[in-house]
Structure formats: C-alpha cells, structure tokens
C-alpha cells in the first residue's frame, strides 16, 4: 500500500537524493578524502619493501585493518551518494578482505588447476607451488635474464593430489605417529614400504594428461629428436635455509615415455631413509613436506661444473670454478677430477690461477636414455675445459645471482655443444669459517671509512653495493655500461632496465621510490637511492665507492668488509617471511586492474584489489556528483557554472564555498571571477603556456576519430553525452575531472599557506591510439612529473602522480605546469613515433614551461 502511494506521489520516494545538496556534497568530499588516505596508506606500505624500515607482522596486521576500514567506509559513502546499494562492491570487498586475512593467517590459496606449470612462466612467489629449486630457477630466468633449460614443473599441488589419490599420506602419517623416535630399523622399514607404494602408485588422470600435454609442447619446441628430459626434485624449503643438498633425487636423460616412472621415483625419493631422517632430526612435520618435480630438457653438456662465488683463496675471498668434460654429476660426486680456476670477485673477474688436470673420461647422455661413460679423445684430455671467455660469462652470471640473493652461491652450470650457457641450479652457501672471521672487522672498517655523503634522497631498495661509478647521461652510456658498476645519473628512467642485471647499484639526483625505475630496481634487488640532488656532483666516473643503501650512506673506496658482512648476515630481508607476506598482501591491495574507465571490465564485479575498488568509486562518485548537480539546477549556490574562456575547455564549475568571486547568479563565469587558488593556477598554465591549440589535432583517420575538446552544451545534457569536464572548488581546493577527447585527467589539489596541508594528486589516462603510442605517452608524462618531484606510478595506461607538503609558490608552479602538460599531451597524441622522441619532447616541454612557471629558481 505504501509502495503504491509512493508511485503516485511526485516526490517523497524516500530516495536519498532528496537530501540537501550540501549534505551530499559533504559525502563527496569525504569520498575524496578517504580516497587520498587510502592511497597514502598503500604508498606507505609500499615504502616498507625497500628494506630501509624495520617492521613486523603486527604492522602489516594493523595497516591492513586501517585500510579495510577505510575502504569499507568509502563504499558506504558511495552508497549514500548513489542510488545503488553497491552490493557488488561490498561483495568484492568481502572477498578481497577474506583473501587478505587468509594470507595473514598463513593459509595459501592454490590457484585452481595448477598441477603442471611451464617453468618459464613460473614467476616469483612460486616457491609454494614449485618448490625451492624450481622457483629459484624461474626467478633467475625472469628477474635476472639468465638462461635455463626449458621445461615444466609438476607442482606441490600435484604432489598432494598424487599422494591423496593413492591414500599415501595416511600411510606416512600413521607410520610416523607410531614411531618411537629411536628405532632406526622401524624407520628404514617404513621408508621401504612408502617408497615401494609410491613406485607402484597410479598417477591421477588429471595430472597424467597435463604432463603428457607439456611433454608434447616441449617436443614441438625442442630441436633434439627424440626428446630427452631431466627430472629434478624441488621440495619446499629445498635450497633455502635447510640445505638438502644431495638428499633428494635427480634423474638424467629420461626418454619422454619414461617420465611417469621417473616422476614416481623422484617423489619416492622424498621418503628415502636418509632424507626422511634428515628432516625428522630438524623437527619437520609431515604436513610441511611437499615435493614438486621439475622436468626440463636434458642438456647434453660439452663442459659442466660448479662455481662457488665465495671461496677461500689463501685467506682472501675469490670465485672458484671447477669444470670437466661432459655432464657435471660425477664431478659433484667425486667420481672424476676437474680443472679448477680461481677468479677475482670484482670485474673484470681476472683469472688468478688455473689448474688443468687430466680428464680421461666423461659422462654423456646415452642415445637410448640414461647416461654412459665415454673415453675422452686423447687430444682433449689435458686441454683446459674452459676458455677465458667462458669463465667471464660464468663469472658475470654468478655475481648477478649472488648480488640478487645477497648470499654466497654454489652454482651448477653447463655449456652446450653450441657454446651456450645454461644454469642448472643455484644454492645459497654459508661462507667458510676462515672467511667468516673477516666479518668481525667490519666495525673497524666502518670507523675508518670516509663518507662522501649520507641521508640524502630516498631509498628505493636497500642493500650494499661495492664497485666503480659509471655516470650515465645517454643511451650510448647505457650501451657501454659494464657489469658490476654502480650507475650514477641525474634522472631516473625505466630505460635503465636494460642494465639492471649488470648494475651493482644505482644513485640518482632526481626521482621517486614509487617510480617505474625504482620498481624495476626493487624487483632486481639492486641497491638504489634516488633524489639525492647531489650524486652527479659528488661522484665521478671511475670513483670506487661503497653504497650502503639500507642506511643510505655512500663511502669512498671499496669496503669489502661491509660487502662480506652483508653476504654473511643471518638473514636476508628479501627472503624473510615478513617481506614475502607484504609482497603477497600488496598484490591484493595496491595492484590495479581497473585502469580504463571506458573498458568493459570497469565494473564493481571486476574489482580484485582495494585499489580497484577505490578507483572505481572515485569514477562513480564524480558521475554521481555531476548527475546530482544537474538535478539541482539553478536553485542553490552550488549551481554548475560554465567557464567562458578563450580555450574551449567545456569546463563546468561548482563552487562549494569561496571558490568564485562575485554574484552567484547567472550560468557563466569568467576566469577572473575564479577565487579557487588551484583552479586559478591551472587555468593560468593552460592559457599562458601556449600549448593549447584549438584546432582538431590531425591523426591517422584510419580507425579512430580525431580528438578535440568538445564544446560544452548549455542545456546541461546528461553526463553520458558530454565530456565530464567538471571542477568542484573551494577557495583552497579543486577537484577537476576533465575529459579531452579520449584523455582523462583528474586533478585533486589543496593549496594554502600551511605546507603540510598542500597536495596534488594527478591522474592521467589516455585511450584510443594503439598500445605503443599510449605507453610512450604515459612515459612522457611520467618523466615530466618526476622532474617536478611527483611520486609517479604507472598502472597500464594510467599515470598517477602525487606530490605533497610543498610551499604555496611551489604548488602554484606545479599547477601551472600541469595546465601546460594537459595541453601539450593532447597535441602529442600521434606524434611519438619512437622512444627517442620521448626524450626530445620532455626537453622541449620543460624548456617551454619555464616561462610560465617562473623559472628554475623556484626549486
């Protein structure tokens, strides 16, 4: 009855829209504020990844709580504004919150169906699924671009499925439960039984068919016929802190048809007496054991061996390489002797000494499978197994690995008959006791060390780097960048990613730890300090320095004790549980999927992270506000007013208080009636920079329309038809949403005398042109913003720039710069034909904008 009445009445639907405008506007402002707080908090959590801070699990728990609270309230705020109850958003939020809680509780969600994964796609954080050994290999390939044999991994999930399918877990668990802890013969018998059962067990159909598929894929890709494979154990914790070296099984040169049997044998090896006993001694519980198995293309090696990155050479640290003809297994088992080479640990990795021995026989792959001993031809027996060039290649790869894991490494390698290197395995090592003594002298070395500068700039990635400075000013410098040097440059640019695997450290004058280059540096764990302002002044080409990025100090000279100290530290921060947990949490929090408001996936149900939700809500809030203001027409102070200006921006302005001078009637206003500081400055930038052209920009008329500003229509047509060019202002505040053709610009800024309150949040998203052009444009914008000290993040085609706590004059300069930037970028649409042009345009823009923003002295 009440419902029917409501239908008849022209008003009083009971809808929230009938709340007064200023109440709803307050909600809108609250949404913006919460949005900013959330972004701040996410950035704060991201900062902790650098290693500069000490934090514990409690920090993560409370940061996540604050974040969840803010996001929930944000959704509630939107519900007040919009007509939808936002059920989808709340559901999405609940889902994400649940996943985050699971991570914090230590319960891992296995991605569905991940029984077999291609090795080259394994990626980081893969240890859960791929085990220690294979995850490390994949990481070395992905992050460090080192060559590994292609293959796939039968995951830990596959292991559990296999064991459960055959009821083997129960046998293991009840068997162990009944063990008295002392009776060795009982354990031996149990081990025999379990292994026997595994060898006879059935491989579940789902797993077997996936294995077959991947073998087939390898066969297609491989040149060698018939396909031969190597299966290697890859257990949880293997090659981590507890070294299971040699305990588990590797099977070489397995024909494709015998892979299932080989799989069973490797899995059975988990419960071999020695291995099982080893684990039980270290108090491992049965549910902590999982055996993934790597299956890789068998490399029939011409030369194989082992390299230790930190060995004792008469009391001095050095690299030790041992090599022999054929496969490396007998070298490690001691069945053959090999050549030994001792190399410097610092570039150019000179050969200190070489000891070539007689190598009468070698282990080779047999044609029908398995391995076979062969005689080495007489002319090769006394020949050096490794040439200087090969040793150099090995040394560079090895130091790259050591530097990444911040631990001395033992690396198994092989050179193919075609000369190509393949890394087979890398394990962290504890340095020998004689070298360990050196760590005691670190404080003495530190006291004597001379500091070049410290505490300047921001740490993007912690760690110690020792090496020569190489100043990089151009691409040519990057091309010539030597392995093991420390990169010093004025600006940061993602082009440094080219040398990321060679650079020992990075120091810049300008840049942000949230920027793209810093993100790449963190992925590669290259110790990096940005924004020091004086690096290129204080450091010169060839200077030998020691960078301690964790504490942000740069010392003169090589302090090898500090380097050694870091290698021997009990824990590596990047390997700690807290670091890995933070990284996993950030995947659910700050990774952005919803970048394009025009795309089909820009909806509530597609939100996968908190950042997605906040992005989505921001867009929706703007839409709601526009719709709201239209409904209220000219009835109150907040009527939307059209800005009249020479440049047709089609901008509509809503004054929420003190933003406009003069009478509050009339639909139009002019520039000089604007009192809002941020908007004033932005308009000054737009009008005075000369970067705005009112002609349509001519582009290829092939598949897309030209982009030109749309003239705003006085009838205030619905937001769907009009570009959403809306500025909501107060005297000190502006929230601008401007769509110019296919570019979206969102600027949220607060400008006042109080430095601490000032900020600018700038978001740019550009569509239409093809991907390459879009990403060039994004890079152009990012480089400009970084020059003006913005913290910049890129999410696909979305560029997010933030700056805060700067003085009023500096805020004004930046607002003007943004005014020019929006205009300039619009013109740039189809003109960035190649990457070098980005640089040219950056120079051009920066030069041209100086006149508008008041010159260099403003810094």
């Amino acid at each position: 009855m009440l419902h029917a009445l409501k239908e008849i009445m022209p008003f009083g639907h009971g809808r929230i829209r009938d709340l007064p405008f200023d109440v709803l506007f307050k909600k809108f402002k609250s949404i913006l504020e919460r949005n900013n707080s959330i972004l701040e908090l996410m950035a704060d959590m991201g900062d902790k990844m650098s290693g500069e801070y000490v934090f514990d699990r409690q920090y993560l728990v409370s940061a996540v709580e604050r974040l969840s609270d803010l996001v929930f309230k944000l959704i509630s705020d939107l519900s007040v504004l919009s007509e939808h109850k936002n059920k989808e958003l709340f559901l999405g939020f609940a889902r994400i919150q649940h996943q985050i809680q699971e991570e914090l509780a230590g319960r891992h969600e296995f991605p569905a169906g991940a029984l077999v994964i291609p090795l080259l796609m394994a990626g980081r954080d893969a240890e859960e699924l791929d085990g220690g050994k294979m995850a490390a290999l994949a990481e070395m390939h992905d992050q460090l671009r080192l060559p590994i044999p292609d293959g796939f991994v039968m995951t830990t999930k596959a292991f559990f499925d296999f064991m459960h399918h055959n009821r083997l877990m129960e046998v293991v668990e009840t068997g162990i439960a009944q063990w008295d802890g002392r009776d060795e013969s009982y354990l031996r018998a149990l081990s025999e039984e379990v292994q026997g059962r595994i060898l006879r067990a059935e491989v579940p159909h789902a797993l077997a068919s996936q294995i077959d598929t991947h073998i087939h894929i390898l066969q297609e890709a491989s040149r060698s016929r018939p396909l031969r494979l190597a299966l290697r154990s890859s257990a949880w914790g293997e090659d981590g802190d507890a070294s299971f070296a040699g305990q588990y099984t590797s099977l070489l040169n397995v024909p494709a048809g015998q892979v299932m049997d080989a799989y069973r044998r490797v899995v059975a090896g988990t419960y071999a007496y020695e291995a099982w006993h080893y684990r039980l001694e270290r108090n491992y519980h049965e549910n902590e054991i999982a055996m993934a198995v790597g299956c890789q293309i068998m490399v029939d090696g011409a030369v194989s061996g082992v390299l230790t990155t930190y060995a004792d050479d008469a009391g001095q640290p050095a690299m030790l390489v041992t090599g022999t003809w054929g496969l490396g297994l007998p070298l490690m088992n001691g069945e053959v002797g090999g050549d030994t080479y001792i190399l410097d640990r610092t570039p150019p990795y000179a050969i200190r000494s070489a000891n070539v021995v007689e190598k009468p026989r070698r282990l080779a792959a047999a044609s029908k499978g398995g391995t076979v001993w062969e005689d080495v031809p007489p002319e090769h027996r006394r020949k050096a197994a490794l040439e200087p060039q090969q040793l150099l290649t090995l040394a560079e790869a090895a130091m790259t690995i050591e530097r990444y894991y911040k631990r001395p490494q033992e690396i198994e390698w092989v050179f193919r008959f075609d000369g190509q290197l393949r890394i087979l395995q890398a394990r962290p090592l504890r340095p020998q006791p004689s070298l360990a003594r050196a760590s005691l002298s670190v404080d003495h070395a530190m006291k004597q060390a001379s500091v070049i500068f410290q505490g300047r700039g921001l740490v993007a990635q912690g760690g110690v780097a020792v090496g020569p400075v190489v100043i990089v000013k151009s691409d040519a410098d990057l091309d010539a960048f030597p392995h093991g040097a420390i990169l010093v440059s004025k600006y940061t640019t993602p082009r440094f990613s080219r040398v990321m695997c060679k650079a020992r450290g990075i120091i810049t004058d300008v840049g942000s730890p949230a920027g793209h280059m810093s993100t790449i540096a963190r992925e590669h764990r290259v110790p990096t300090v940005v924004n020091t302002e004086i690096a290129t002044q204080m450091l010169h080409d060839g200077d030998e320095i020691t960078l301690d990025a964790t504490q942000n100090v740069i010392y003169r000279g090589r302090i090898s004790e500090l380097d050694h100290f870091e290698l021997t530290e009990e824990m590596v921060f990047e390997e700690s549980y807290e670091y890995r947990l933070l990284r996993r949490l950030l995947k659910r929090i700050s990774h952005l999927n919803l970048t394009d408001p025009q795309a089909a996936n820009f909806k509530a149900s597609a939100c996968l992270t908190y950042h997605d939700i906040t992005r989505f809500i921001h867009e929706k809030a703007i839409e709601e506000l526009i719709a709201l203001t239209e409904r209220h027409g000219g009835l109150d102070f907040s009527a939307p007013r059209r800005l009249i200006s020479d440049i047709p921006l089609g901008l509509v302005v809503i004054d929420a208080g003190g933003g406009i001078r003069g009478p509050i009637d009339g639909k139009d206003i002019s520039r000089d009636e604007i009192e809002s500081l941020p908007l004033c400055e932005l308009l000054a930038g737009i009008h005075e920079s000369g970067m705005w052209c009112t002609d349509p920009v001519s582009v290829d008329m092939g598949s897309f329309m030209s982009s030109f500003t749309r003239t705003f229509c006085t009838s205030l047509a619905g937001p769907h038809k009009v570009g959403r060019n809306l500025a909501v202002i107060l005297k000190e505040y502006m929230n601008l949403h401007m769509r110019i053709g296919y570019h979206f610009n969102i600027i949220d800024a607060y400008m006042c005398e109080t430095i601490n309150d000032n900020y600018i949040n700038f978001r740019f998203f550009g569509g239409v042109t093809d991907f390459t052009h879009r990403s060039r444009r994004a890079r152009f914008i990012r480089e400009i913003l970084e020059r003006f000290d913005f913290r910049v993040e890129i999410h696909g085609d979305l560029v997010v720039g933030r700056i805060k706590k700067i003085s009023l004059p500096r805020m004004a300069h930046r607002m003007r710069m943004l005014g020019g930037l929006i205009g300039y970028t619009r013109q740039l649409d189809a003109r960035l034909q190649d990457d070098r042009q980005i640089d040219q345009h950056v120079q051009c823009f920066v030069h041209a904008i100086q006149g508008v923003i008041g010159g260099k002295s403003e810094r």
Binding site: V54, D56, V442
Partner: protein, 130 residues
C-alpha cells in the same frame, strides 16, 4: 640488548648494531632478558613495549633499578601520547614508533654513545660519563 617478541626485529637490529661494532644479545621473551640483566651489564637496551609476560614498561623499570647507567630505548607498534609520556616518565632515553628506519635507530644509539663518551653537551639530568 634487544628485546622484542618478533624475531625479525631482533635479527635486523642485531645485524645493524653489529655492523657498527656493538656486541648484541637478543631476547624474544622479557623474562629471559630480565634474568640476563641480573647477570651482565649492558650499555644500551632496546625494548618493545607490548610482549607476553613482563611488558616493556617493566623491563624499563627493572633496568633503571638494576643498572641506572643503562640507557633504554623503547620501541613500539602502538605509539600513543600516553605510552610515550609514561616511557619518558619511567626514564626511557628515547621512544621510537614502529615501523622505524634503521638509520633513525642508529642515530639514537649514536646519541647515547656520544653521551657515554662525554662528547655531547651535558644537560641537567645527565649522569657522569664512564
């Protein structure tokens, strides 16, 4: 002496202090830390506030009692005006909120070192340097 129930805090602080030449002992339980305090002398104690058993305030109070020349730095993830005031009231040398930068905690320790060496200008409440 470093006392925190989170092993990662102990490990990172240990390595940082060792790098500049300190001998470091770490404890994840305030009980074992307290009993050790009765056995040996420490120049500096860095302690968390909220732990199981005896909490940081108690460690602070006991430390001031047993060895008044030991400087105590309080670290905590639950920093409030009240806890800060109380810590200083109880004689803490400094109060640092978690998460903190390693370089910040080092600065704190260096200030203590300077005081102990008498190189810092003395204030009304400083004890004679050793």
């Amino acid at each position: 002496m470093v006392i925190d129930d989170e092993p990662i805090v102990c490990k990172r602080l240990q390595s940082t202090f060792q790098k500049v030449g300190y001998a470091v002992e770490t404890f994840t339980s305030s009980a074992s830390a307290l009993s050790r305090l009765h056995e040996a002398e420490f120049d500096i104690i860095v302690t968390d506030l909220k732990m199981e058993g005896a909490d940081g305030m108690q460690v602070l109070a006991t430390a001031r009692e047993i060895s008044p020349q030991t400087r105590v730095i309080v670290i905590t993830g639950f920093a409030t005006m009240e806890t800060a005031k109380e810590s200083f009231h109880q004689g803490a040398f400094d109060f640092v909120a978690k998460p903190f930068k390693l370089s910040d905690i080092l600065d704190c320790v260096r200030r203590i070192e300077a005081r102990l060496n008498g190189t810092e200008a003395s204030t009304a409440d400083s004890t004679p340097s050793r």
